[in-house]
Symmetry: C2
Subunit: 277 residues, 2 copies
């Protein structure tokens, strides 16, 4: 069986940067998981003594707090500052951007629409920067229809969403409002990984997407490849591979989320090579 890697996959700029920051801060604690990859979080704990706290409530008494790639809520950041913890900011700069936009646009009186998952920490963080209550998180036209938007709306996206779904929200808003300020905050790595995943899936019999099941961008990749190749599977590690998936397959495509380290990808490829098809 031939194994084909997507043209673009895996670690993005923000994740690489955050891991680098964490490796240089032994003894620090991250507020929530640094990135959405449990295996890598474990490696940072074992090799670099960087542990993960569940929330800011647990930060009392710690010396150094690392802000995760997804950012945290404004009020949590303020609480950390108040208790006098040293703050090491590993927020991805592409996430800081929608946070700032949310703050600025709310100050200018725009209704804020965030295209994303309301339970995702990045989105919770961005939302917390609004200076008013007219800030709404939506994933679909159906959700946005429920909102009294008014005449002026500003739209940002969770960095890891799909551009075509984003455009559906844009189109709805343009039809509804007199002015829409659209900030395309979907990051390039997301674009590139998604485009490459699409191309890959079109030309393979099976696709393995590697990444955290809590990772937004990994789930997006999985959604895309599934459209083009029905035999697509999402795994976090090599143990989750099932050899029966590969029976009769000729070309196996591999892609990975932005928070998936190379060492996991390599381990999985090694295991796939050994599977008899």
């Amino acid at each position: 069986m031939e194994i084909r890697l997507a043209k673009n996959y895996g670690f993005c700029f923000g994740v690489k940067r955050a891991i680098n920051i964490a490796q240089n801060a032994p003894g620090a604690f991250t507020i929530g998981p640094l990135i959405h990859n449990n295996e890598e979080i474990l490696r940072l704990k074992n090799n670099y003594n960087v542990e993960t706290l569940g929330s800011v409530e647990e930060a009392q008494g710690i010396k150094k707090a690392i802000i995760r790639t997804h950012g945290i809520q404004k009020e949590d950041l303020e609480r950390l500052k108040k208790i006098g913890v040293e703050i090491i900011d590993a927020t991805c700069p592409f996430v800081t951007k929608p946070q700032k936009i949310c703050e600025e646009m709310s100050a200018q009186g725009y209704t804020i629409i965030i295209f994303g998952d309301k339970n995702h920490p990045e989105v919770k963080g961005v939302k917390s920067y609004s200076l008013h209550e007219s800030v709404h998180v939506v994933l679909s036209i159906e959700e946005i229809k429920e909102i009294n938007i008014g005449k002026k709306a500003a739209l940002v996206s969770q960095t890891t969403r799909n551009i075509n779904e984003f455009l559906k929200i844009v189109d709805f808003l343009v039809k509804t409002c007199a002015e829409v300020r659209v900030f395309n905050t979907i990051c390039n790595a997301t674009f590139e990984n998604q485009d490459a995943a699409r191309e890959l899936a079109m030309n393979t019999d099976i696709v393995i997407v590697i990444g955290g099941k809590n990772s937004s961008n990994t789930k997006q990749l999985y959604g895309i490849v599934k459209e083009y190749c029905k035999d697509s599977f999402l795994v976090e590690n090599d143990k989750e591979l099932n050899s029966s998936w590969f029976t009769g397959k000729k070309i196996c495509g591999i892609t990975a989320g932005a928070s998936t380290p190379d060492w996991i990808i390599e381990k999985i490829i090694e295991k796939i090579r050994k599977i008899k098809v």
Copy 2:
């Protein structure tokens, strides 16, 4: 043959307002045709002594100038002011809006994209309000691809365009720029007349669109009905009707552009009633 009128058609707010202004200004001259309907222009000349000048160059010596519904170019307005003519502004308020947006957004450094016909007086007027040279008039994705837009764009539309075509430009810009300010300046009358024309065309055997052949919104209506009813015809007056069009037809739909007066529509309906099918 049954005759059905579209739910919404004909004179819009801006045209009604302009005609009212003109009727109250006998002896005045309009700079270019007040509205895009030759028959109505003739009526204003004959009954109200309001004549049409080809351009601002011909305004020397006149006392009162009426600004047409479509507005005029900023430099032409300034020239009129300089020669001391009394200015009566019949610019549709929905056209004044994109003019102001163009001015403000150019002052804030946005590249200006105007979705419209570069030869239409409304568009020429809007464009003239830009304070910089980065102002582009486009009708299609192909045209916009040629432009070096930069990171920040502001988009306005000619008031009489089709929303779905506008959204194609929006989508392209959102994919290309970090920020797009979208001003939906397509006027409601345009929306309503277009929606009603679509609904009408779906349920008729023949559609007659009445309006000036130089009228943007009339041409848009014709484009829409043609999609749904192949036997659609655009006429300016009753003389252009051809009885052979109606042979064997059971339901005839009628719609009219925003600058088409009721008296022309009535004349045409009267003539159609007399045609033997």
